[in-house]
């Protein structure tokens, strides 16, 4: 069954067809949301909101790339979630035991992923990139994520963010400039390919 068949059946009220579309795109939606928000829980919330919003707005889909249309809903949901997070006061993580004493290393804080010694270079560069992504302004971050992580072309990104292609080009250019500057700030932590030698710096 093609994507278009699924869309038509979903439009007729077939929930299974709709859920098939969700399963087809949920990983992409979650990853985009995760890179935009840098928070698994917030990314999951944004993805769920996007799915609900897609269900409600399905009749407004007017053809074209369904993926772009859905990613537009996802980015809007991310914007909303980011605004909601910014309004909500942050609570510092202070794990306590049953007696109210602070715990040095709570079980839920353990990182079960491979340690730095196992995959040092990859971890470092991923952390550096994620950190730099987080420091980017939302409008630059979303364009960079859509182009470089999600693999969308300029026209699709323009459709997703509802801006002209010229805006996409300029935002992407600035986003990469800022990312490059940010990554250089990590200096020796990064693999050699991300460092500029003295000759290049001059």
């Amino acid at each position: 069954m093609t994507e278009q068949d699924l869309i038509e059946q979903a439009l007729e009220g077939d929930l299974d067809a709709f859920n098939s579309l969700v399963l087809q795109y949920q990983d992409l939606a979650y990853n985009v949301a995760y890179r935009i928000m840098n928070d698994p829980a917030a990314a999951a919330d944004a993805t769920q909101e996007a799915v609900i919003s897609m269900y409600r707005k399905l009749d407004t889909y007017r053809g074209g790339s369904f993926k772009s249309w859905f990613l537009r809903i996802v980015t809007n949901a991310c914007y909303d979630e980011l605004r909601r997070i910014n309004r909500r006061p942050s609570i510092p993580l202070q794990p306590e035991n049953s007696e109210g004493e602070l715990i040095d290393s709570a079980e839920w804080m353990e990182d079960n992923s491979p340690g730095p010694e196992q995959n040092a270079s990859n971890e470092e560069i991923q952390q550096a990139i994620q950190s730099c992504l987080e420091n980017l302004e939302e409008k630059f971050r979303i364009v960079l994520v859509l182009v470089d992580i999600s693999g969308e072309d300029y026209a699709s990104v323009a459709q997703i963010i509802h801006r002209p292609i010229g805006t996409v080009k300029s935002r992407l250019s600035r986003a990469r400039q800022k990312m490059q500057s940010c990554l250089q700030g990590f200096g020796e932590l990064l693999p050699e390919k991300f460092r500029l030698n003295d000759e290049e710096k001059s």
Partner: protein, 307 residues
Amino acid sequence: MKRQETLSQRDLELLNAYLDDALNEKERKQFEERLARSLPLQKKLKEYTQLKVALRELPKQPSPRNFTLSPEQARAYKPGPKLYPAFSYVALTAVLLLAIVFSSEFFFNQFSTPMATQMESSLMEEEPLAVKSADEKPEPLIFTWGYPGGMGMGGGAGGSGLGGGSTFTITSIDETVKVGGDEEVGEGIVTPTPEVGILSVPPDMGTGGGDEQVVTPSPEATPIPTEAEPPILSATPESVTVEPLILGLQEDKAGQIISTYPQLSDQAEKAEPARMWRTLVSDKVKIGLAAMAALFGILALIFYTKR
């Protein structure tokens, strides 16, 4: 020494487009020619390529759960009837009705303009009549005593001056002036008349008391015309009873119309409604339509943004 080439924002945008394969054939060839000659461009391309590859190589995060909707969720999130089109139609209809009402009233009043002008002109014609009638009205007299001794003297059996219980009747300047009555002559209504001047009463004329005094015009009681004051004693053929007299009015007020009847301002006020905007539909209906347009417009906007 070769000057260091600086890259503009436009260069960087072209570089990004080249990297993302977003240039057409012609643009790509032109850029490649330039890239072959430019070391800064080559360096930047290398940096951006590494960055792009690094971003692409970021590990994909598996979805923590399925985001599919259960039948219960689907029922809960089922889109309701779309109310915003209906609301927007109602708001639009109300606005159109308002526009029709106002434009109809505008054209109605435009066509009625000649009639209004006619009414205005008739009013303009009436105004001189009003002035005329004011002129025809018997005017109050300004009475100035020629001698200080004549002012307020009297009362009872006062020897000089006009006062006391006398009545004071002026028939004309050439006729008998009666002085006497019960009221003290101290004040009076003062209105100038063009025919006569100030009546001077010599002190010896004043005979107070309750007796009726007859003042016969004589050389002693002749009008004294002044330049500053207009003539103030009316020489009307019939007798005029002056009660009471006001003395000492400001000279610069002499000769002015104190009041007319009917009042000119009253006429103007009565004429005003004829020149006002005439309405075809009551204000309540207009307010209702405006309120409906505003209410349903806001509702349509709310439902549109929340859809």
